[in-house]
């Protein structure tokens, strides 16, 4: 029941906000924070009950939904799903708590946040392929309304582009799911069955077509260059908590989907496609960091670093899936690294996007040339931004480093050249974050920012908790690695 509760509670919380009109601004916010803590607690309980030496999927809950199609309401977690879902639950609490201008419709805003939380956790907890798709699509609707309703700049346009582009990807995903489903006998959408049966093994051309459709769907979501063009406008025009969720949670659905579906259910076809996928990931790493370097806008710069970071995650996944047997240690390391990257990127980039929200609330601009010397009036803001930026650029002792170290060392065992080139991305990322910090916090303090208020208690505590975890994972990664390695063992082989 614990996993169902993690979905049902935010959904009911959203319904309560939608149906009853009497919510005040602060009541709606408190309600959203209180409700979003419950899935977080549920994830903590699930983490505690998860047996790291047990079966691959645990805490399974299963109810028939559409048995005539072989679809069920099936939930369950492995180490990877649990890690990503727990991070998502935390980020949602942070996003609900972070102050934002809801423009007089707080009730609707928080209803969509909670609805999005239910749908997002559903994606990570689903053990049924069609249920996965149901939640995958529902996240688009919620994010569309969040961007269109509370964004700035050209929110309608950005939301439209986001929805159309990602729906395009998810419909190819649907076709691929059907291709996989139709190869099962008896027909089922049960992920455990699909992983055990490998329905398209040795199916030749059909398997390749299905794989191409899966990759297209997930690469658009991740996104890798050149399928990333929906991302900058959606990120920049979304309200900051929605940007944080978009980067921290929604992008993970692409990489998580890659691991859960094509990697696990079509292992031999995935191995054939691993090299092109790894090359595409490498292009994203380099391209994302170079384009980020050229941005003059804080939010755009961070948005492009997402492409860079998700490139690392995909590189790790591709390296892990490149072989069916052999190099288990390296491949396991790459996959572990990819998962840590998902968690770390969620925490770090989530924090960074929330920070951009603080800048917007204070200065109404994202152009960092407009700021400068802010370390004097806003020391807390400066300290936390610096910490987040250092974590993002991969400073040892912080979570980003653990992730990228694992990915690069693991990839080195499979694709040494790609790993070597990927190192370049780290250098560029370091340069772009250092320059951003420099122009925001050092140098001449413009007259109009002399009295800029520092982070308030709500902002400080949300960022503090997120970044504290970044430090914890950086210093003591075993908390996360033990959990993840139970799954990578099943996924890489050798068990």
């Amino acid at each position: 029941m614990i996993l169902t509760a993690a979905l049902a509670v935010p959904l009911l919380g959203a319904v309560a906000l939608a149906f009853w009109r009497g919510w005040s601004q602060s009541a709606a916010r408190l309600w959203a924070i209180g409700i979003s803590v419950i899935p977080l607690v549920a994830m903590a309980v699930a983490w505690w009950r998860f047996d790291t030496s047990g079966t691959m999927f645990q805490l399974v809950e299963e109810v028939e939904w559409v048995p005539s199609l072989g679809m069920g309401f099936r939930l369950g977690v492995d180490g990877i799903a649990l890690a990503v879902a727990a991070m998502s639950a935390l980020l949602f609490t942070g996003a609900a708590a972070y102050p934002v201008d809801t423009r007089g419709s707080a009730r609707q805003y928080y209803a969509w946040i909670l609805f999005l939380e239910a749908a997002s956790l559903g994606v990570f907890l689903a053990l049924d392929l069609l249920l996965f798709y149901v939640f995958f699509d529902l996240t688009l609707v919620a994010m569309y309304f969040l961007i269109a309703g509370w964004g700035h700049g050209k929110p309608q346009r950005a939301a439209l582009k986001f929805f159309i582009y990602t729906l395009f990807g998810s419909l190819f995903l649907l076709l691929a799911i059907l291709g996989l489903y139709l190869a099962t006998d008896p027909l089922t959408f049960d992920m455990r069955e699909l992983i055990a049966r490998q329905p398209l093994a040795g199916a030749g051309a059909i398997a390749n077509v299905v794989m191409a459709a899966f990759l297209l769907g997930f690469i658009i979501k991740t996104p890798l260059a050149p399928f990333h063009t929906w991302l900058p406008s959606a990120h920049v025009d979304a309200p900051a908590p929605a940007s944080a969720i978009l980067a921290g949670v929604l992008l993970k659905m692409g990489t998580y989907g890659l691991i859960r579906i094509p990697y696990s259910m079509m292992a031999d076809t995935f191995a054939e496609w691993a090299l092109p996928l790894a090359v595409l990931a490498l292009i994203s790493i380099i391209y994302g960091s170079l384009v980020a370097l050229g941005q003059k806008d804080i939010k755009r710069r961070i948005a492009y670093t997402s492409i860079n970071h998700m490139g690392y995650a995909v590189l790790g996944i591709a390296a892990a899936g490149a072989l069916l047997t052999g190099s288990e240690a390296a491949r396991s390391m790459a996959l572990t690294g990819a998962t840590i990257e998902m968690v770390a990127h969620g925490l770090i980039t989530g924090s960074l996007f929330l920070i951009t929200g603080s800048f917007w609330q204070r200065g109404e601009t994202y152009d960092f040339a407009a700021y400068g010397g802010l370390s004097a009036p806003t020391p807390k803001l400066a300290a936390l931004t610096t910490l987040a930026a250092f974590a993002s650029l991969g400073l040892p002792g912080l979570a980003g480093f653990v992730a990228e170290f694992h990915i690069l060392v693991g990839t080195f065992g499979v694709y040494p050249w790609l790993a070597a080139i990927a190192l370049l991305g780290l250098l560029i990322t370091a340069a772009l974050f250092l320059r951003m910090l420099q122009s925001l916090f050092f140098g001449q303090l413009p007259e109009r920012w002399k009295s800029m208020p520092d982070l308030n208690a709500a902002e400080f505590s949300v960022l503090g908790i997120l970044l504290l975890l970044v430090v914890v994972i950086g210093v003591y990664p075993a908390v996360l690695i033990d959990l993840i390695e139970t799954s990578t063992g099943w996924l890489v082989g050798g068990q």
């Binding site: 939904w65 559409v66 005539s68 199609l69 309304f145 439209l160 929805f163 419909l171 190819f172 076709l175």
Partner: protein, 470 residues
């Protein structure tokens, strides 16, 4: 006893006649009683259909009338749609002097569509299509003082006259070729490989006749006009029931056709053109009802996907039925909302509706997202099954075409949705009162409810089949 086989249809027929007669005696202010009578008759007929659901599929009345699950499912959809349309009508028609007869016409239109769905004889098919068309023209032009309605009815009539004439020529050619009109005899005669040229011409002509009722390219032009300018309850009714009847009729007819005709490719081409044309035309519409009309055209294109693989894939009929059910529910819900808002049509007039009337806006949004095929709404399961059967039947490219079209359609659905949520204080216009509001709520709830309870819908559709002559 064969007459009892037609019990649901006879009830509708006698009820229609009784309504027409009683309307001339009832005082005008009591004409709404005719709506109640129509709803009662349709409900009773639906119950009869359900009670006989498990009877074996067979032909009756000398082989011209099919009693099978396909026809039964279509009857349920058609009766249900007519119930919704009748419930929407009393206030809409209250000031019309011919209020009472209107329900008689509705029931005759229902009969026409039911005949299409159940006809197992080409002559019977013609009668069904003509009955459906004649009543359709009258219903579309019911507001005869209003020139857009006249225009819609006139366009409907002109295209219909042409399409029906072609249909009759096709049936005659087929009769000349095989000497048969009944589907049982046609199956035998077509197995003997008649002249392929004549056969092709006959097939294309009959296909055009059915495409007209389906709202498929190239004879779809009436659909947006009727959706825009017919009385809104009529628009809701006609766009659904003629499509349901024609889709089943086409599926039934296609199963007779010999394999050497390459008919699936012709229908696949028609499906592609229909969904693409409908979607492209809907893109920049500034009138919500017209947009719904074009969207209805594109939905016909999706429905045709199932007919492409009918007979070749087990689940094709189930996919068609589930899709039609999903379309019917969403379309009725969308038009109910339009009726509830007193037929508001210009998209601009919908600005800010989400603030002023959140529930009405929610129903429209649900309907549009269901057209789009967003899970877990009922339209999702229809599209899911459609994609599934065309992939299984080896027409994966058609699924890709449908996917691209779905993405295109998102653009105009979102234009409507964005308009609804745009901030603007509305003038607070009046609404149509509780019957329309209730109908809207029920149909809107069904979009979500039938999606969550998709298993029941799919099971019912899977238990349906088309009677195949030996």
């Amino acid at each position: 006893m064969p007459v009892a086989d037609l019990l649901p249809e006879l009830m509708v027929l006698i009820g229609a006649a009784a309504i027409v007669v009683s309307a001339s005696f009832l005082p005008h202010r009591l004409h709404w009683l005719c709506a109640v009578a129509a709803i009662a008759i349709l409900l009773a007929s639906s119950v009869v259909v359900l009670l006989r659901w498990d009877n074996a599929a067979q032909l009756t009345f000398f082989g011209v009338w099919a009693l099978d699950g396909g026809a039964g499912f279509a009857k349920l959809l058609i009766f249900g749609s007519a119930i919704v349309a009748s419930a929407l009508s009393p206030q809409w028609m209250a000031t019309d002097r011919r209020h009472g007869e209107y329900y008689g016409l509705v029931l005759f239109a229902v009969l026409g569509s039911v005949m299409m769905a159940a006809a197992a004889d080409t002559m019977e098919l013609i009668v069904g299509i003509l009955l459906s068309s004649v009543t359709g023209y009258a219903l579309a032009g019911y507001h005869r003082q209003w020139s857009p309605a006249q225009e819609a009815a006139m366009k409907y009539f002109l295209i219909g006259a042409l399409a029906n004439a072609l249909l009759v020529v096709g049936v005659v050619l087929l009769f000349g070729l095989t000497g048969a009109t009944g589907y049982s005899e046609l199956t035998v005669a077509l197995a003997a490989d008649p002249d392929p040229w004549v056969m092709t011409v006959a097939f294309v002509l009959i296909l055009i006749g059915l495409a007209f009722k389906l709202g498929a390219t190239p004879v779809h032009m009436w659909m947006p006009d009727v959706a825009q300018a017919a009385p809104a309850p009529v628009a809701a009714l006609v766009t659904v029931i003629s499509k349901v009847g024609a889709a089943i009729a086409l599926a039934r007819f296609a199963m007779l056709l010999p394999g050497n005709l390459a008919w699936p490719w012709v229908i696949a081409l028609m499906a592609t053109l229909t969904m693409t044309w409908g979607n492209l035309a809907a893109l920049w519409q500034t009138n919500l009802r017209r947009l719904l009309g074009w969207s209805a055209v594109s939905q016909s294109g999706y429905a045709l996907m199932a007919i492409v693989v009918i007979g070749a894939v087990d689940q094709a009929l189930a996919a068609l039925l589930v899709f039609l059910a999903g379309y019917a529910v969403a379309n009725l819900a969308a038009f109910s909302a339009v009726v509830y808002l007193r037929g508001r049509t210009e998209l601009d007039d919908y600005r800010g509706l989400a603030r002023e009337r959140p529930w009405t806006a929610a129903v429209i949004i649900l309907a549009l997202l269901s057209f789009l095929g967003l899970p877990p709404l009922v339209g999702f399961f229809g599209k899911l099954l459609l994609f599934s059967v065309v992939i299984e039947g080896g027409y994966a490219w058609l699924a890709v075409v449908a996917v691209v079209n779905t993405v295109v359609s998102l653009f105009y659905y979102l234009r409507v949705i964005a308009t609804l949520v745009l901030p603007r204080q509305d003038q607070g216009a009046a609404d149509m009162g509780w019957p329309a509001g209730l109908t809207m709520t029920v149909t809107g709830g069904m979009i979500l409810g039938l999606g969550l309870w998709a298993n029941g819908l799919i099971n019912l559709a899977q238990s349906a089949m088309l009677f195949l002559p030996e």
